[in-house]
């Protein structure tokens, strides 16, 4: 089940990667080599096995509902490419 160029385009879009078709085609070989490994896994008779979400037998690592100290706002905003009046500024994400 090798990926098609169409699927590659979709993946690139989901990952917000700007790649043209030539670049995507160049990536297809290594990605499809990877897919071949998964095909091997999928061939195994695992119908009776519960999907493993976590490999360690540990459950219920909780914290109590106790308030701690938040970051000072200057520090919270320190890494932001842009900030103003205590708000993070991002490129417009709705149509104008």
């Amino acid at each position: 089940m090798a990926l098609t160029l169409e699927q590659m385009r979709h993946l690139a879009k989901l990952a917000r990667l700007e790649l043209d078709d030539a670049q995507l085609e160049a990536l297809m070989a290594p990605i499809n080599a990877l897919m071949a490994h998964f095909e091997k896994l999928q061939a195994l008779p695992l119908d009776d096995v519960e999907p493993t979400s976590h490999s360690i037998p540990v459950y219920n690592a909780f914290r109590e509902d106790i308030v701690g100290t938040p970051l000072p706002r200057e520090e919270a905003l320190a890494n932001a490419p842009e900030a103003r009046d205590g708000l993070f500024i991002v490129p417009r994400i709705v149509e104008e």
Binding site: F62, P70, R73, A76, G86, L87, F88, V90, I93
Partner: protein
């Protein structure tokens, strides 16, 4: 129907930041909820318990093992690039539940598909062209999602409203959510579609947002149903989309869509180990579930002989029901307590914007007031005036009565004298009465109440007036 309820916790879902509403932007954030590299989320136990308790109250099957998933998307309302949530039908905390509603005297089960736990997103603003502004205070606040089953059991705007009324009541009884629709701590998104008459082949659905009150829910759904019918009857096609509701304009409009694809690539959250819900844990939580609204309403009808309407009004809110039960425990006759609470008290609370739990006029005050009326110490009119004063000052009614000499006049001679004086001052009325227009007695009683500053017993006053009128013939 999808409902999102912000859970009542002090701290966020996966970090210790406060959940407080209304603070200055980005002051309740930390490396975890800002999604900084190297941080790890740790679930809030209380939030998990809130969801388990809700799922129990909604008659759900509880997953022995519940899992968190990552829902991946590019949108700046969450800084991590994904929302920690639970995934569809795979290991959410509750599934296969139902909620009972009562409409026009009939009970109906609305099936619940799932109850799950996730984190809320930050708030976006679009003040200036070319940019959006983000406040992450709300990012990571524990959020519960409750989704009804498909095919739908809700077939009208009224049923949708009733479902939400009951759900909100249950959430507030459990104290897991404050239920404030106006503030957005309880948000509902109905998915609406129509079918040809007599068929159950549902058409394309639309999702409706911005419904901030029960009234909006009914109006919004009614509008959307009509809109879809009109499109279909004129040969058009309904577009599957999310629409917003404008309460002022009373119309729905297509929402500006998020730019990302609806392809979330869910996978189990590797940073959070599974939640194991044991029988013992469940049992201890089951014990914390109070009598629920519908059962309470039924008991009020049965035990106290209250009407359907009264029972519903009193039980719609946990604190109101508690207030009522305290009054009854203090010896107030249930129907009397109900009337004072749902009429006088509710009006004062609405005027002052207070919650019933903050009422300066407590059940003890009300019991005292009712006792004063029943013993004949004060008249109903004085009682209403006192009610206002007690609500403002929090003083005991009997104290005020004693201090002001508001005690009802029981001295027969004094009352009779007052009656005679009223008749002497109102010869026209007396004449009318004798001419057969006996309804003027109401006016005369009013005059007598005025003359005695409301301290006469109205029934007794009327009786004395009639006796004196006969003497005037």
């Amino acid at each position: 129907m999808e409902v999102h309820a912000q859970l009542l916790t002090e701290s966020k879902m996966f970090c210790a930041c406060p959940t407080r509403f209304g603070d200055a932007p980005n002051t309740n954030v930390c490396p975890v909820c800002l999604g900084l590299p190297g941080t790890l989320p740790v679930p809030n136990k209380k939030a998990v318990e809130h969801v388990i308790r809700t799922a129990l109250a909604l008659n759900c099957r509880i997953a022995p093992i519940a899992l968190f998933y990552r829902k991946n998307y590019f949108y700046p309302d969450l800084p991590k690039g994904y929302q920690i949530s639970q995934y569809g039908e795979v290991h959410p905390i509750g599934t296969h539940g139902y909620l009972e509603i009562e409409l026009n005297g009939e009970r109906k089960k609305i099936r619940i598909r799932r109850v799950h736990l996730e984190e809320d997103t930050g708030k976006l603003f679009h003040y200036l062209p070319g940019e959006s502004e983000v406040d992450y205070n709300r990012a990571g606040v524990p959020l519960m999602e409750i989704v009804t089953d498909f095919p739908p059991d809700i077939h009208s705007p009224e049923e949708a409203r009733e479902y939400l009324v009951q759900l909100r009541a249950i959430l507030t009884y459990l104290k897991v959510c404050d239920g404030k629709m106006e503030e957005g701590s309880l948000r509902c998104e109905p998915n609406i579609s129509v079918a040809p008459e007599g068929s159950n082949q549902l058409g394309v659905k639309t999702e409706l947002k911005n419904l901030n009150s029960f009234r909006s829910v009914v109006r919004g759904i009614e509008f959307e149903v009509q809109r879809q019918i009109q499109i279909l009857e004129s040969g058009g096609q309904v577009v599957q989309e999310t629409r917003g509701w404008s309460e002022e304009g009373a119309y729905s409009f297509p929402m500006r869509t998020k730019e990302f694809e609806q392809d979330y690539r869910y996978f189990p959250e590797p940073d959070i180990v599974p939640i194991q819900i044991t029988e013992e844990w469940l049992e201890s939580l089951r014990k914390t579930i109070p009598e629920l609204p519908l059962a309470k309403a039924e008991r009020y009808r049965r035990e106290y002989g209250l009407s359907d309407y009264d029972a519903r009004v009193l039980t719609a809110d946990y604190d109101t029901a508690t207030y009522f039960e305290r009054c009854v425990a203090l010896g107030v006759e249930p129907k009397t307590a109900c009337n004072w609470i749902t009429v006088e008290l509710q009006a004062r609370l609405n005027e002052t914007g207070r919650a019933i739990s903050e009422s300066p006029l407590t059940p003890s005050h009300l019991a005292d007031l009712v006792e004063l009326i029943q013993s004949g110490t004060i008249s109903g009119r004085i009682a209403k005036e006192l009610f206002d004063e007690v609500f403002q000052t929090g003083r005991m009614p009997s104290e005020i009565v004693k201090e002001r000499g508001l005690v009802q006049i029981s001295d027969e001679d004094a009352l009779r004298a007052a009656a005679r004086q009223v008749l002497e001052e109102n010869p026209d009325a007396v004449q009318k009465y004798h001419a057969g227009k006996t309804s003027v007695i109401g006016f005369l009683v009013g005059q007598m109440m005025k003359a005695t500053q409301g301290r006469a017993n109205p029934q007794r006053a009327q009786q004395l007036l009639r006796e004196e009128l006969e003497k005037f013939r």
